[in-house]
């Protein structure tokens, strides 16, 4: 595949060597729908970043990924992947990206290796050969290498219809990495997987990121997966309602607090009030740690305490707050 790619666009307001994905005012309204599934979103994803797009069902996450991977036409807006315009040079975009779809996109009647081989030939990586044994050594080595890393080398020549959900996901990863994409789109890659498979998958994806420096664009329902992201973006009803690093989003929306309790709760209540320490009872005493450290705060309380713990809100807390607010 040596088709000359169209020159990269540079007329948007961000340098493309820094931003791998540039989206401006993207809108998608499905035929017959009354509302926009994606409603004017703009975002940038920098090279090498792990970017997480979060949101409830129907927020527009999969629609956004479908547009960015050229399988769905936008109603309006501009998007560049690696400097290639989706509208004018979709072929270059397709060579740049790899995707793991939300629903497994495998031919269940073929073996795992046949699925991978079809992908490799469609991407122009290797010439067509009817059998694995006749494929170039480079192909055979890469298949063995990737399948060994994911622990499915023994299953590569079995029909995919015999695979578990976790194995299908692993196979999709093997396939999506065959052409060494610069940008990897993961649309809820761990949905339907058990905890062990989820962990194994993420361990491997971390290795992939470290090895390839690929940009990863992730959508997920599991907020703990997004905690590791460099930046997150929360979508609701097709619009961006929060954006930033996970820490910044959490800091903007939630606060760390100290939880204490005493055998003599009246005494503790009186003391906190007397010292001007803001708190609320739920029924334990929750004291925000906005401007003071937990240690200093505890030292200032004389009432004997029976319960002491600090609570750091999770991204999930922030996420729920964002959605409640929007």
């Amino acid at each position: 595949m040596t088709a000359a790619a169209a020159p990269a666009r540079t007329d948007l307001d961000l340098p493309l060597d820094v931003d791998t994905i540039v989206v401006r005012d993207l809108v998608k309204r499905y035929r017959g729908a009354e509302l926009n599934a994606v409603d004017g979103i703009s975002l940038n994803v920098r090279a090498g970043e792990l970017f997480a797009l979060l949101g409830p069902n129907g927020a527009g996450k999969t629609t956004t990924i479908s547009i960015l991977t050229t399988t769905l036409a936008p109603t309006s807006g501009v998007a560049l992947i690696g400097g290639h315009d989706l509208a004018t040079d979709p072929s270059a975009v397709r060579r740049t990206v790899g995707i793991i779809f939300q629903k497994p996109s495998l031919d269940l009647n073929l073996t795992a290796e046949e699925n991978v081989r079809l992908h490799a030939i469609l991407y122009g990586l290797f010439p067509y050969r009817p059998f694995f044994q006749l494929m170039p050594i480079g192909y055979r080595d890469r298949v063995r290498e990737l399948s060994a890393i994911l622990g499915i080398e023994r299953e590569m020549f079995k029909a995919v219809k015999t695979f578990s959900g976790g194995m299908k996901r692993k196979l999709e990863i093997v396939r999506s990495l065959m052409h060494r994409p610069r940008v990897l789109f993961l649309d809820e890659p761990t949905s339907g997987l058990d905890a062990a498979s989820r962990r194994a998958l993420w361990d491997y994806l971390r290795e992939v990121r470290a090895d390839t420096k690929a940009t990863v664009f992730l959508t997920t329902h599991y907020l703990d997966e997004a905690e590791d992201a460099d930046r997150i973006c929360i979508l609701d009803k097709g619009r961006i309602v929060a954006e930033g690093t996970p820490a910044a989003v959490k800091q903007d929306l939630t606060h760390e607090y100290l939880v204490v309790d005493a055998a003599d709760r009246d005494a503790l209540r009186r003391e906190l009030t007397a010292r001007g320490i803001g708190h609320r009872e739920t029924p334990l005493f929750e004291i925000p740690l906005d401007h003071v450290g937990a240690h200093a705060l505890l030292k200032s309380i004389d009432t004997p305490l029976v319960t002491v713990r600090t609570v750091a809100p999770s991204l999930e807390d922030a996420y729920l707050k964002v959605l409640a607010r929007s």
């Binding site: 595949m1 035929r31 050229t70 036409a73 995707i99 495998l106 073929l110 081989r117 469609l122 122009g124």
Partner: protein
């Protein structure tokens, strides 16, 4: 390099369809048996009733008609796999690949042509068993025209599918489109003389040109030619060639548009 890459993709896609057929024994058996019923039961019955009374052998007429119809219809209906792939979420893997959309469709047409070939071979073998005389030049003609007819059927199938959303709709529409063509194209019976209200739809039916193309080559140089063949094979090819391109281009355009513009 680009052309080579696209050709490799066409071959890989075609192999996928053939592999699936060879692994599906039930489908393999049923696709081969169905034409036997047409030729053996219908052709045999007509031949027993009429013999060579109309000036030609009914069994041979039915054999050539069913051969062309099977290849055309098998490939056309095989294109439903495009919709099945869409419903099984596999089409997104195909349509995200950096190859031309026409390459993907061409690969599927070639694949379904390969899928139709076992049927064609079975029909040929069955024809020999029931006593139809096929000379070597006629055999070569049947194979050559059969491949062209199968490609034509595939392109016609893409055009029909481009306007259908799901497998259920396709399964309902295709018999509706094909059943009248069995009679309008003269698959089982000669259509040298038709009333005007059948002559018009007959001339519109793509299968008419496919069947007559195969018969024109098969009967060339025989005494039955004038009784059976409607027009010169070159004239039929002059219809089939452009119609193939039109169906392929328009069908692919609208199918891909339906895929992306939801």
């Amino acid at each position: 390099m680009i052309a080579a890459g696209e050709l490799h993709s066409v071959l890989a896609l075609a192999q996928r369809d053939l592999t699936k057929l060879l692994r599906d024994r039930a489908r393999l058996i049923t696709t081969v048996i169905f034409p036997f019923i047409f030729i053996g039961a219908l052709g045999g019955t007509l031949s027993a009733s009429f013999g060579r009374a109309p000036g030609f052998d009914f069994l041979t007429l039915t054999f050539t008609g069913v051969y062309a119809q099977t290849l055309f219809q098998s490939t056309a209906m095989g294109m439903i796999s495009l919709v099945i792939d869409r419903e099984n979420d596999f089409s997104q893997e195909l349509f995200i690949a950096p190859v031309s959309r026409y390459t993907i469709i061409a690969g599927r047409i070639l694949g379904e042509t390969l899928v139709a070939l076992p049927q064609a071979l079975a029909i040929l073998a069955f024809g020999l068993v029931i006593g139809i005389h096929i000379s070597l030049p006629q055999l070569a003609g049947l194979i050559g025209t059969g491949i062209i007819v199968a490609f034509f059927g595939g392109a016609f199938g893409v055009l029909v599918l481009a306007f259908l959303n799901n497998q259920r709709a396709a399964n309902q529409i295709f018999p509706f489109i094909f059943l009248p063509q069995f009679f309008l194209a003269g698959v089982f019976t000669p259509i040298q003389v038709l009333p005007w209200y059948l002559e018009i739809p007959s001339r519109i039916a793509p299968l008419r040109y496919a069947v007559d193309f195969v018969r024109g080559v098969f009967y060339a140089g025989t005494s039955d030619y004038d009784h059976v063949v409607l027009q010169d094979p070159v004239a039929n090819f002059a219809v089939i060639g452009p119609a193939f391109l039109v169906c392929l281009v328009i069908g692919t355009f609208f199918f891909v548009r339906a895929e992306r513009n939801r």
